[in-house]
Structures are given as structure tokens and as C-alpha cells.
């Protein structure tokens, strides 16, 4: 449980490296966690070679959701979009380095759902995207 608020999570929450909004961007998507109203927007620029040139997240929410978003963005910059499409739940858990119960898992996975809905060009960030 103390793990849940590991220093790295508090640090990314308080001093995120990738908070912001890219203009212009190639991909933009935003959605809420209906449980708690947490909100994440992701903007992304894609290079000619199909890799993530740059990305940012914006929004509000708990430490877990915002730190996950920051860690996620950090992890995808420079990666091929095709690889980003394959990311799932385990990727976020690896980034956080902790186990999460079902409720907090939703907080942690919001940014990945938003990211995947954006790269797939979907209208909604559904749970199936990260299973």
C-alpha cells in the first residue's frame, strides 16, 4: 500500500515532464473516467517514419491517473505507432511497478485507453482497448 504512493508516483504527479498540449498535432483524443470524473487529453505528433515524434497529456485526476499518464507518454516517445497500438494493461503496471485493485486500476489505465482510442481513431476510450 505504501507502494501505491511510491516516491516516483508522487514525483511524476507533482512534477510531470509531459503535461501540456501540442499544437499542431496529428492525433488528439480525450475522455473521462466515469467513476470519478478524472479527465485525460493526449495530443501527439507522428513522424514521417511512423514513430511518435512528440506527445503530451493534459487533464486532472488522482495521483495514480496523472502519474500513469506522465510515465506512459515518456515511454512512447520515439516508439513506432504500431508498437504503441499493442500496449496493454501490463505496460502500465510495469511502469508503475505496483499492483492495483480493480478500482484504482481504472485510474491507472485511463491514459492508455485515451491513447489507444486516439491512435486507432475511435470515438470512445473503452475498457476492451487495454485488456
Amino acid at each position: 500500500m505504501d507502494d501505491l504512493y511510491r516516491e516516483v508516483i508522487i514525483e511524476h504527479y507533482k512534477h510531470p515532464g509531459y503535461r501540456g498540449h501540442l499544437e499542431p498535432h496529428d492525433i488528439q483524443f480525450a475522455d473521462n473516467n466515469p467513476l470519478c470524473g478524472d479527465h485525460i487529453e493526449i495530443t501527439m505528433q507522428v513522424g514521417a517514419d511512423g514513430t511518435v515524434k512528440d506527445a503530451r497529456f493534459d487533464g486532472h485526476g488522482c495521483a495514480i491517473s496523472q502519474a500513469s499518464a506522465d510515465l506512459l507518454i515518456e515511454s512512447i516517445i520515439g516508439k513506432p505507432l504500431e508498437e504503441v497500438k499493442q500496449l496493454n494493461k501490463q505496460h502500465i503496471l510495469d511502469l508503475l511497478g505496483i499492483d492495483l485493485g480493480p478500482v484504482r486500476l481504472k485510474c491507472a489505465l485511463l491514459s492508455l485507453k485515451v491513447l489507444k482510442a486516439g491512435v486507432y481513431g475511435l470515438g470512445e476510450a473503452s475498457d476492451e482497448l487495454v485488456e
Binding site: C36, G37, D38, C62, A63, R104, C107
Partner: protein
Amino acid sequence: MTLNVQQIRSDFPILQRETSKGIRLVYLDSTATSQKPLPVIEAMNAYYRRSNANIHRGVHTLAEEATALYEEAREKIARFINAPSARQVIYTRNTTESINLVAYAWARANLKAGDLVVLTEMEHHSNLVPWQMLQAERGIELDFIPVTEAGLLDLDAYQALLARTPKLVAFTHMSNVLGTINPAAEIIRLAHEAGAVTLVDAAQSVPHLKVDVQALDADFLAFSAHKMCGPTGIGALYGKADLLEAMPPFLGGGDMIKEVKLRSFRPNSLPHKFEAGTPAIAEAVGFGAAVDYLSSVGMDAIASHEHEITAYALERLEEIPGVKVFGPEAQYKGGVAAFTLDGIHPHDVAQILDKDGIAVRAGHHCAQPLHEKFGIPATSRASFYLYNTKDEVDLLVDGIYKVKKMFG
């Protein structure tokens, strides 16, 4: 009037448990659902061990007993809210279903395009969405009594809404977020003067205050067992007899009929007209045991105990730097303290408190528009019931200081 909290606590087995080794449960989430005392648990247990059968129409001993228990519970619930007759108490699944029953059976028979329904800005989603659905289907109009900065209903604005002759005024008796206890009798009197029917969402009031449907002159009043020491899966709708009699049925099926032919049916009389299918029988028995339990403690004693705890909690919470408590001052309020902590998300607050066994709720508490009104996505909410103590408030306050330290 005072109540013996230690004795009451010993009636609730769950309050004796630990959430992890050496950490005792501090349950501050009764607004979401209350805990259950032994007499309720035992009544349901005894029903399944001894009397279980389907109700009505059975002639064997168990069916007779089950039917009697189910209907006795209805009598108890009717007395508890001072309904003139038990036939005016309809069993539903919960407050939400009670409100939906009114929206389907009464409103669809009585409202047409352009008719105005007045709600308030502090409603739970359960008293918003059914009316939004009806708006989409029927083209009724919705308008809302505003909530003031102080967390009270703006009754001047209400008067202005009434000048537009609404057909229905549907409002919460007590806010599940602000804790505001609304002046229900006054709201109903004014609605009646304007010719409107009234629906009271009493999910938070019936468990905590003496509610008398005749003194209020309520047309419809909805509440749930699980927030008042009873089981989940059962609630009630009280209605005035003439309104209920005139309404078409809600769900169709067994038990709600008097006679069925291949191409037609005649509905049953009250209250069965609105109770299709095998109901939650054990839960009804538990509901009856719950009102017996609350009556034995005394609703006035419960209300004054909660008031004392809430006043103490507000005082202690407000002395913590960075804490903002929402809703009116203690005198207008039931046992709810929804708060924010500067720079720390309510989910994080709730999670860290949980480590010390303290159960509070975090989120928008099914009142998203109200949170938007106050410009916040979510709050942490501590709520109090007959079994809570000032010591538990102190533990909550210590816990909040811990959260602050962790986020430094």
C-alpha cells in the same frame, strides 16, 4: 435524548472487524450504504432457515408464513413513515426504482410535451436521469431550483419557477453530498398551491430523521432499505392512494394481475399492482426488522446523535489547513461532510485513509452536476450514522494530516 453508542456498536458485527492486522474498521460511508445490525441479519437468516416459500396464492404452511412475514414488514414500514395504510407502500428494488416507477407509471400517463418538471441542482443522478429520459421521449421541460453558495436551495427562485405552473416538483429531502436538509413541507405546500404533484427523494432522510408522509403532505416519497440498516435489493415508494389507484401498472407479470386472458389482463389492487414477479421476500423481512431496530433506538435520538457528531466533525475538519467542507452549517445539515484537500485528489485521500481502516467515499457521489456547479470534479465524503463516535472523527482528522504529510 442520548443513545448508548457502545451498546449500538455491539449490535453491528462488522464494526468489530479489522481491515488489516491490528487496524480496526472506521466506517464513515453510511450515506452510500449503512451497516446491518444483528436483528436484521438474524431475521433474514431465520426466514431462509424456517419460512422460505413463494408468497401469495400458496396454501401450504410455509407459503402462509412467508406471505405473512412479507406483509407484516410492509405494515411496519408504513407505520415508520406514518402512511395512512400499508397498501400505499409499494416494494421496489431501491430509491432509484421507486423514482423510475413514478416516471414510468405516473408521468407517462399524466405529462405531455411542454409540461414542466421542476427538479433541483442538488439531485442525485437517480432523480435527474429518469426525467431526462422522459424529456427525450415526451418533450417535457425540465428546470432546476438553484443551489446557493451556502449549499441551500434558493427558495425565491423556486417561487419564480412555480409561476410557470409545473406539473411535478421532484426534489431530494436531504442532499447526499452537501448534507442539506431541505424544507420539504414548505416546498410541498408551495408546489400544491401551484397545482403541482410532488415526489420526495427520501433516500437520505428516512434513515436519519423522523419522516412523516402525512405531515409533509407528500404525494410520492421514495427510499431504500440498505441506507437504513436494512438489506440491499429492496426499497419502497409511498404514494397517495388516489394517485396510485389512477396510475397504470409499472412492470407486467405475475402478482400484479387480478385476471389474465390471452389478449388482456386486469391489474391487481394496491399495492400488488406495482409488484410484478417474485419479489425480494427475505429482504422485505430484513427491511421490517431494520425499521423495528431504528424505532427501538428512536429516530429523535439518532438524529440528535448524528447532529452532535457532524457538528464536531465540521469543527475539526475546518481547522485543518487546506480543507474545504461543502454544504451549509451544521444546523441545516444531516451527517455528511464532503470535503476537498488542496492539491490532493479525493481518490488519493480515500486510499491513504483506507490504510488506517478509515472508509470514506471519493468521487462525485452520483451528483456530477452539483460538483460542476462548485467547480470541482470530486470530493471526499465522510458520513455518520448512529454507530459513529467522536473518536472516529478524531481518527479521520489524524488520517487527513497523514495524507498531507505524504504529499508534502
